[in-house]
């Protein structure tokens, strides 16, 4: 006794034994997976209609009512292997790809190439950490996959960078943070630039399963890898804190310079400080953006290659604007500096001191501010503007006095003296 199921094949209902049904279902699914064509559904429909026709013939001939396993096996022999059927449809894909080449030799060549990995259409590769082939965290393996270089070569480059100047270490840590791990079949396919369609994912899952069964140790770090992993983690923590500190200092210093520059600019242009300040900080922002925009674009491009036109246009326009802003601000600052040689000398001295200690930095700030004040008084063009800038300059001095040391005060008084003697 056997259980049967009802199936609808090409619009006809068949009773079919359970075992025969299982075999037929696998067969049809296999054909479907092997077909490489945009008209896949149409071909499947035709094939199913043909199977239905053959079932009818078999049933009529044997005077039976139920399709059994023997009939299904016969029909499978008659129709041929899913691979053979798929191979015929592969040519279709090849034809449309290579329709431009009429040369026979080229066609043969294309056929040889397309006969290996069937439906793995190449799309843009995405950057992921290749955790299946990792030594430390899969950064080098992922980069290699993305660029198309051997991972070992990339690893050698990284090691050289670490030994030569230590930059490799930082780069590795940063990349580790920003690169997502290829921890799913879909991501592994995206990493290799293969379209993550349902069938490809199924194949990929089967493939990784086999690979992991074959050598269960692969994909895990070696002892050396483990050691380096630990070192990098420790280093990352050790490096991360000072790095944050350095960034904080840089931002503070840059901000103060911009602030001082702003007050100078404000007085030079004879503007109320409020306007001068926003102009100066705009210049500062511009010069930061000039460096930052290409960096951000590079990182985004590495992580995800799919970016629209709008993104590029926005980035380029922003970059051009900030470049213009930064250049004009620098031009203005330097032309105004060269107007007054003595002032310029003094500022140069202060800049030299600046490299020695941070206190001098504050002194420089102060000097710049008072210089701006002096400039304004010298101009004496507009009594109203004078009043406003002087008031504002006082505010600046107040806000900056916190860190001022004795040294700085000396510099200020010196500069004051110089300018007044003038």
């Amino acid at each position: 006794m056997k259980q049967t199921v009802n199936i609808n094949l090409g619009g006809i209902v068949f009773h079919i034994d359970n075992d025969a049904y299982a075999t037929l279902e696998t067969y049809i699914n296999k054909i479907n997976r092997n077909l490489q064509s945009d008209s896949k559904d149409e071909i499947m429909q035709d094939i199913e209609a043909r199977i239905a026709e053959l079932f009818q013939q078999h049933l009529q001939y044997s005077k039976m009512e139920v399709v059994n396993l023997r009939m299904v096996n016969d029909i499978m022999l008659q129709l041929g292997s899913p691979e053979a059927i798929g191979a015929e449809s592969e040519d279709e894909a090849m034809d449309s790809q290579d329709s431009s080449h009429s040369d026979d030799a080229q066609e043969v060549e294309a056929e040889e190439i397309s006969s290996s990995p069937a439906n793995e259409k190449q799309t843009a590769k995405k950057l992921y950490r290749d955790v299946d082939h990792q030594v430390i965290a899969g950064v080098c393996a992922g980069l290699g996959e993305r660029i198309g270089l051997d991972a070992t070569l990339i690893r050698i480059i990284f090691v050289l960078l670490v030994v030569l100047q230590g930059a490799g270490l930082l780069a590795y840590l940063v990349l580790w943070i920003i690169m997502p791990a290829a921890d799913s079949a879909a991501r592994r396919l995206e990493m290799r630039g293969i379209d993550p369609s349902a069938e490809n994912i199924q194949k990929e899952v089967e493939r990784t399963q086999e690979e992991r069964n074959a050598n269960p140790n692969k994909g895990h770090r070696s002892t050396a890898g483990n050691l380096m992993f630990g070192c990098l983690i420790t280093f990352g923590i050790l490096l991360g804190l000072p790095l944050l500190f350095v960034i904080f200092i840089l931002v503070t210093v840059f901000g103060s310079v911009a602030f001082a520059g702003a007050s100078v600019m404000g007085s030079l242009l004879n503007l109320p400080l409020a306007t001068g300040l926003s102009f100066g900080s705009l210049c500062a922002i511009c010069s930061v953006l000039v460096i930052l925009i290409p960096l951000i674009v590079l990182i985004i491009w590495l992580v995800n290659r799919k970016m629209g036109k709008a993104f590029w246009i926005t980035a380029i326009v922003l970059w051009m604007l900030s470049l213009i802003g930064a250049t004009s601000s620098m031009y203005k600052t330097f032309t105004s500096f060269s107007d007054n040689h003595e002032q310029w000398e003094q500022i140069k001295n202060t800049i030299e001191q600046l490299s020695e200690n941070e206190e001098a930095m504050d002194a420089f700030e102060q000097a710049m501010q008072s210089w701006g004040e002096q400039m304004n008084t010298i101009m004496e063009e507009n009594a109203y503007a004078d009043g406003v800038t002087d008031d504002a300059a006082e505010e600046v001095t107040e806000s900056a006095t916190d860190d001022v040391t004795d040294d700085a005060n000396m510099v200020i008084s010196a500069s004051d003296n110089e300018t007044t003697t003038e």
């Binding site: 064509s37 008209s39 094939i47 043909r50 239905a52 009818q56 129709l79 041929g80 053979a84 449809s89």
Partner: protein, 111 residues
């Protein structure tokens, strides 16, 4: 290798013969299969369906649905003008090829 060469040779001829069959009369896939099998040109049936769809997509063939006494409607194929033009070229090419092969075979014969 041997199989590969053989199948390469057959592939081109298969399309030519299918065009020829459809040119003679409107047929549905099973009719074509019958004729190809009788001529020993096809071994497994399954490969015909992707081929027909490809030829249809390339504009050589067209089809229409026709009611059938035995079951659901069938796809009857007919040749398009484009297909007919191609068929003429293929006929010439076939003559040329068989001439070439014959010439070489005769040259190889003694005397």
């Amino acid at each position: 290798m041997v199989e590969n060469i053989k199948s390469q040779m057959r592939k081109g001829i298969l399309e030519y013969c299918i065009l020829e069959i459809i040119h003679q009369e409107e047929v549905y896939a099973t009719d074509i299969l019958g004729k190809l099998k009788a001529a020993n040109l096809i071994v497994v049936e399954g490969t015909l369906y992707p081929l027909l769809t490809r030829m249809k997509n390339a504009g050589m063939l067209n089809y229409r649905w026709q009611e059938s006494m035995a079951g659901p409607p069938r796809k009857y194929f007919c040749i398009t003008d484009e297909g007919a033009a191609l068929l003429q070229e293929l006929e010439k090419e076939w003559d040329a090829i068989s001439n070439s092969v014959n010439t070489i075979n005769k040259a190889a014969l003694p005397a």
